[in-house]
Amino acid sequence: MTGSPPDVMLPRPSVSVDAVMAAQRAAEFTKRSIKKDAKVAGLLMALSMLDLTTLEGKDSVEKVRGLCRKAVRPWDRDEAVLGYRLPSVAAVCVYPALVGTCVEALGPDRRVKIASVATGFPSGQFPLEVRLDDTRRAVADGADEIDMVINRGAFLAGRHDEVADEIREVKRACRREDGSFAHLKVILETGELETLDQVRRASDLAIRAMADVDFETGIPAPGTPDFIKTSTGKVQPAATMPVTLVMLEAIREWHAATGRVVGMKPAGGIRTAKQALHYLVMVNEALGPVRVDGFDGCPWLTPDYFRFGASTLCNDILRQLAWLKSGRYQAGYDFSEA
């Protein structure tokens, strides 16, 4: 082990959350008026932050190839209709068995990252060795990012140390032979955590556990750009605005205490362009004023530290962009499915 132990500890237990105020503050973010140029800019930002996702039992090689094409160029008629080339999305998110297909489809100099769910997604109810092996294989196959699920059973039973140990183990399994790390996203599955207090506790725990591995490897601030993520998308409710707000607050306080930067990924249930704008408003108002050494603007308003996990959101953003440009409401069949 190298590096020095952390000199700042978060207070334990985590601060408690006022659920009523969290809901009210989250609701306020939905009342900003964003029109015309600002709306287009917001939609393009949301598009560039997408983790274009397919996580179904019926996923096939051909479907994932189609998803990769869409990730690189979300709409092939962009120049004809909009007059400009759309940005690529941030990443594709697939099951581990399909990582190789993505590597092949996106090519060696890919701008679109490959994220793979791992650790026995979506339940995580597998022996630790199987989960770690799942992770190592996905990294070896070429995944840039690993979306892991925490052991909710252990967390809810109060075995927090066990959960933290497992996150540390998974993060160590994300280390490649050359010493670099695949970026880790820890899925809290907030729909199963019952209360916002638990969400905050799990956020603090996950952030801390991921940073522990940075400390032992000697990675200085801002640290590996790891994420905390709301949901698998397989449990309802998935991402909600109050839950995301609580997680953003945990990220903000961790940065204030340590100077380290952790990313945020709400996933599941964000289907419309309007919802995506609401989330961006929330990020801007919760974290926008935070200044980080080495970054020009707010790091959380870039795809490096903020992502949307979604599948249908992409086409709704495209639909809105086309409507704003043409004044014609668009049909579903105007946009490719994958």
């Binding site: 004044g327 014609r328 409401y329 668009q330 049909a331 579903g332 105007d334």
Partner: protein, 289 residues
């Protein structure tokens, strides 16, 4: 006993099986022939139209996939509900400036109910009449099926408000299309009451949505909306018809604009009012030796 306060009806829109006010917050003053305000109705905006089309699109797979018998039964059920609401429908017709007297209003309701029953009957018959078995040279059966087009927008003239609405709507629904109805703001009350009939007749949510609003405002958005597959309209002004024709050309909507219709004539009960909103699918099937 204290004097009772009046309990007046709020005439609202009907979108996705619910009764919302217009998203825009606007309302229409409905006046009688003397010009005094008798009621307020919701004044639909283009965003209400957008929501209604989305609801109709979501409802299409279910409605078009349901059996013809069921669709017929639901349309007939709607006719039964109209019969039960006869007094309210007639009152809605006499309140607005379009209609003249209660006898005429009663007659219009009767014709509208009968027309709905007529097209309820067509639901499980149109495909036999409009589809066919084609003669081909070879050992094949060759069938043509008539299938619904998709989301059809029904644009109604102000006179006669109820009868024209039913005459344009029923042929669209009976074949399995879903509909977004736009009733003219000049006399919108009977359309708003009809929404209550639809809501209590077992139509799945979104199959029939009813908006009351300004045709000049909404028809241009209907014309260019790429997710509307057909338009069934009548009594449009020359300019509005031209706007509609220009817009629908862009995504090739099936469009019928009737002019000079005698609404009480049997001509409105022709199966050729069903046919424009059907897609013909032809299937080859090997004949057994």
């Amino acid at each position: 006993m204290p004097e009772r306060l009046d309990v007046l009806k709020t005439y609202k829109l009907f979108i996705d099986g619910k009764f919302p006010r217009s998203e825009s917050g606007r309302s229409i003053e409905v006046k009688d022939r003397k010009g005094s305000v008798v009621a307020h109705a919701s004044h639909a905006s283009r965003k209400d139209l957008r929501e209604a089309v989305e609801a109709a699109r979501r409802a299409f797979p279910g409605w078009s996939g349901s059996s013809a018998l069921l669709r017929g039964q639901i349309l007939y059920r709607a006719a039964e509900m109209m019969e039960g609401k006869r007094a309210e429908l007639a009152q809605a017709l006499t309140a607005g400036r379009g209609s003249t007297g209660s006898r005429q209003a009663q007659a219009e309701v009767s014709l509208a109910v009968d027309r709905l029953v007529h097209f309820a009957g067509w639901a499980d018959k149109f495909s036999q009449v409009l589809g066919c078995h084609n003669a081909v040279a070879g050992p094949y059966y060759n069938f043509t099926f008539a299938e619904p087009t998709g989301v059809v927008c029904v644009v109604c003239p102000p006179v006669p408000p109820l009868l024209s609405l039913i005459s344009l709507l029923a042929p669209v629904l009976c074949s399995g299309n879903t509909a977004v109805v736009i009733a003219d703001a000049a006399d919108p009350l009977s359309a708003a009451v009809l929404a209550e009939v639809i809501a209590t007749s077992d139509f799945p949510a979104g199959v029939c949505n009813i908006l009351t609003g300004d045709l000049d405002e909404l028809v241009p958005f209907v014309a260019t909306h790429r997710d509307i597959d057909g338009v069934h309209a009548a009594g449009l002004s020359g300019d509005l018809a031209k706007t509609l024709r220009a817009g629908v050309a862009e995504n090739i909507k099936r469009t019928v604009v009737h002019s000079e219709v005698e609404w009480d004539s049997a001509a409105c009960e022709s199966p050729w009012w069903i046919e424009p909103f059907l897609e013909m699918k032809t299937v080859w099937h090997p004949a057994s030796a």
